[in-house]
């Protein structure tokens, strides 16, 4: 490789699954992620999540969404050497009520000031991190994720859908890093 270091994409032969199992949201200012040093130039997953000093517990909040309706996707684009990844989470929260309004107000306020962070647990078991701000005790280039394009409906008849189709978007320079711990440790941060 005279020009660039290319890496293989390999995985052990075996099945995988699509879809999202859990989504949790956090204030990116509250959490610090530990990322081990590169191995042969390759970036490693996040292995530790610590609550930053001054953050008030709980710092992570679960989002209960309509089963089998949530999706994470990204679109990569390029202009010369400039690369952009447009990340998006779509999820439906059922029932238009005060709690839904409170949630929407909270995420709008957070998105306006400092952005939102997400843990996305895929049905495959992998946990992806989106919108993080602090890594290894220092801030990384801004990865701002905000609610953008959500829609809500009451439906017209009894069997119609009643709820909010949430859309969270954020642009960044790369695909998402994984968190190598278990989901139970994220749940612990929801009550810590």
């Amino acid at each position: 490789m005279l020009c660039a270091t290319i890496r293989p994409r390999t995985r052990a032969c075996g099945p995988t699954t699509g879809g999202i199992s859990n989504i949790a949201v956090f204030d990116p200012n509250d959490l610090n992620f530990t990322q081990a040093a590169d191995v042969a130039g390759a970036k490693q997953p996040y292995s530790v999540v610590a609550i930053r000093i001054g953050a008030t517990s709980p710092v992570v909040f679960g989002i209960t969404f309509k089963e089998d309706e949530a999706e994470y996707k990204f679109t990569q684009s390029r202009n010369g050497c400039s690369v952009s990844y447009e990340h998006e989470i779509d999820a439906s929260i059922e029932d238009l009520d005060q709690s839904a309004t409170q949630f929407l107000q909270a995420v709008d306020a957070a998105a306006c000031c400092c952005g939102l962070g997400f843990f996305i647990r895929l049905n495959s078991g992998k946990i992806l991190v989106m919108g993080e701000k602090y890594v290894n005790g220092e801030s990384i280039p801004k990865f701002k994720v905000a609610q953008d394009g959500s829609t809500g409906t009451s439906g017209k008849v009894f069997e119609d859908y009643n709820g909010v189709a949430l859309v969270f978007k954020g642009k960044y320079s790369r695909a998402l890093y994984e968190y190598s711990g278990t989901w139970a440790t994220i749940e612990a941060l929801m009550v810590a």
Binding site: N32, T34, S47, V48, V49, R52, N136, A188, A192
Partner: protein
Amino acid sequence: MALAKIKKEHIKQVVAFGKSAAPLSERDDLDELAILAIESGDKLLLSYFEELPALDILKKSKTDKELGRNIEANQTATEPKQTEKKK
């Protein structure tokens, strides 16, 4: 007994790592966390610890601990057979 020691002011600090998000004072994998802190250079994680031993000493301690666990597990696995023989 872990070689890495947590500063008193951080013993209640919660850290999610591996399979546990217990406060630092209740964790039994502090040496592992300390190794990660040194290798990553994570300033926040490093700030939780008292002055840390050298990386190779921490790694040796971690290996010894794992070996100890394996020996213990092997002994437990073989104990019932020994009891049977005595009968």
